[in-house]
């Protein structure tokens, strides 16, 4: 069974159609393996070769990758949730009830989105502290560290704007507590709060603004910044590795 699948794949890779789609035949030499990376739009920002030490789990614990994967899971589940959601009060809350009682796997979808959101905040923090303790911010990685700090803020703001969308008591008061803090800013505090909420209290306008921020503006910002962040890891010379990263030495 396994051999027949392997031979089938091997035969497929030799076909004209396969080559026309992937722009290469089987990746059986270092040349074609290189082409597999730089000849692929989604992988071309990666290096063709990586240091063995950088692959060691201790070099990264894959925290940055996990953060990216969580962002992808959030994008997919988020888009699916958008099919069932109206950013209006109190319809938004009814949509939550629909997810619970009407939509197939609606609760599961929402659970997954919420879990991934909390995990992403946690993983981005963990990633930042791990990079600090390894000295990963040092030259020439200085500016990528700064982009990372901005990404942390974008992640927090993404999670925070999403928090309001269910329009239940938990959402409403969590956002009220948060936005009240903004008023403490001297001079411009109240103006910023008004801009964010579209009014003086958390109401329908605030829900719409948070929705637009949550599904368009912030994901786009995160997408672009994540792209630059990963691309620069390679441009700045790859992951920071240490002598002790090798196994058993």
């Amino acid at each position: 069974m396994a051999t027949s699948v392997t031979t089938l794949l091997a035969t497929l890779r030799e076909t004209k159609v396969w080559k026309s789609i992937f722009r290469r035949g089987p990746a059986n030499s270092n040349r074609t393996r290189s082409i597999a990376v730089f000849g692929n739009l989604f992988l071309h920002w990666m290096p063709v070769k990586v240091r063995e030490k950088a692959l060691h789990v201790r070099a990264s614990y894959y925290l940055g990758s996990i953060s990216l994967f969580l962002f992808l899971v959030l994008s997919v589940t988020g888009i699916l949730l958008m099919f069932y959601y109206h950013p209006a009060a109190p319809n938004a809350y009814r949509d939550m009830k629909d997810l619970q009682f009407v939509v197939s796997n609606g609760v599961f979808l929402r659970n997954l989105h919420r879990l991934a959101a909390h995990l992403m905040v946690f993983m981005v923090f963990a990633h930042m502290f791990h990079v600090f303790y390894r000295g990963g911010y040092k030259p020439p990685h200085e500016f990528n560290w700064v982009i990372g700090v901005v990404l942390l803020l974008v992640t927090l703001f993404l999670s925070y704007t999403g928090y309001l969308l269910p329009w239940d008591q938990l959402a409403f008061w969590a956002v009220t507590v948060g936005t009240n803090i903004i008023s403490a800013m001297p001079i411009i505090g109240d103006k910023i709060k008004f801009l964010l909420l579209g009014g003086h209290i958390v109401g329908e306008n605030a829900l719409l603004r948070f929705y637009v921020l949550h599904v368009v503006i912030l994901p786009l910002a995160a997408f672009v910044l994540i792209g630059i962040h990963f691309w620069r890891v390679q441009k700045d010379g790859g992951l920071t590795v240490k002598p002790k990263d090798s196994d058993g030495k």
Partner: protein, 235 residues
């Protein structure tokens, strides 16, 4: 013999006479870019590992999402304030700070300073692998550490901010204990005594953040009073 006259002057023609010049600036040594070690092809070695990480992550999340339901409370009601009204967990550290300091300090000043401090780390010669705190003038440094710790704790006591005092005292004690390890070669004191100041500051920051967040999430009830999470309280 006279044909083989040795020239010692510099020519300005870089094409004819290429020359390498090394500038060694103060407090640095000429750096040699070392051997980058063995390398592996990204395809398949890195991509395979990334795929495994992704799959494990998704499987774990699906299992958790099947059993752990996202909360949904009553419809939002501006007239019915829950007590306590809590922000998302990652802001509960700030909300805990708000309990001790005025809103401008806890909600605006401290977060702004934290973000600024994070941004400038790579530009201010912060070296987390740098010189251990007790290398040069250990006695003077210990005195500075003691005075700073006592001043900080006194300041925090003045504000009754004991959920900051606790982690600060713990980290400061470990820091002071590591002083004993500066001449040892093995053991936890020796390992800790090899850490530079930046390591200690970041560790203190993380300890305080975790303590504030955990207390804000689990140990705060009506009127931001202390509650034990395992005891049911009227909510």
């Amino acid at each position: 013999m006279e044909n083989k006259k040795i020239e010692t002057s510099f020519s300005s023609d870089a094409k004819k006479e290429p020359r390498r010049v090394v500038f060694v600036t103060k407090q640095t040594s000429a750096k040699v870019v070392g051997d980058r070690g063995p390398q592996l092809m990204t395809y398949p070695h890195l991509l395979l590992r990334e795929a495994i990480v992704f799959e494990i992550m998704v499987i774990a999340m699906v299992v958790i999402a099947l059993f752990w339901d996202a909360p949904l409370e009553q419809l939002a009601n501006p007239l019915l304030t829950p007590n306590p009204a809590k922000a998302p967990w990652y802001f509960l550290g700030l909300q805990e700070l708000l309990h001790f300091f005025p809103p401008f300090v806890a909600g605006i000043l401290i977060p702004t300073l934290v973000v600024l401090a994070l941004v400038v780390i790579p530009y201010f010669n912060v070296n987390v692998e740098g010189e251990p705190l007790w290398t040069r003038r250990p006695g003077r440094n210990l005195r500075t550490v003691l005075i700073t710790t006592i001043a900080l704790l006194a300041f925090l006591v003045f504000f009754d901010a004991w959920t900051i005092i606790a982690p600060t005292a713990v980290v400061a004690s470990i820091l002071i204990f590591s002083y004993e390890g500066r001449q040892q070669t093995t053991g936890w004191q020796a390992r800790l005594s090899a850490k530079p100041l930046s390591w200690w500051i970041m560790t203190w920051f993380i300890a305080v953040s975790i303590c504030l967040t955990v207390v804000g999430t689990f140990f705060r009830g009506p009127g931001w009073s202390w509650v034990w999470p395992w005891r049911a309280h009227v909510g």
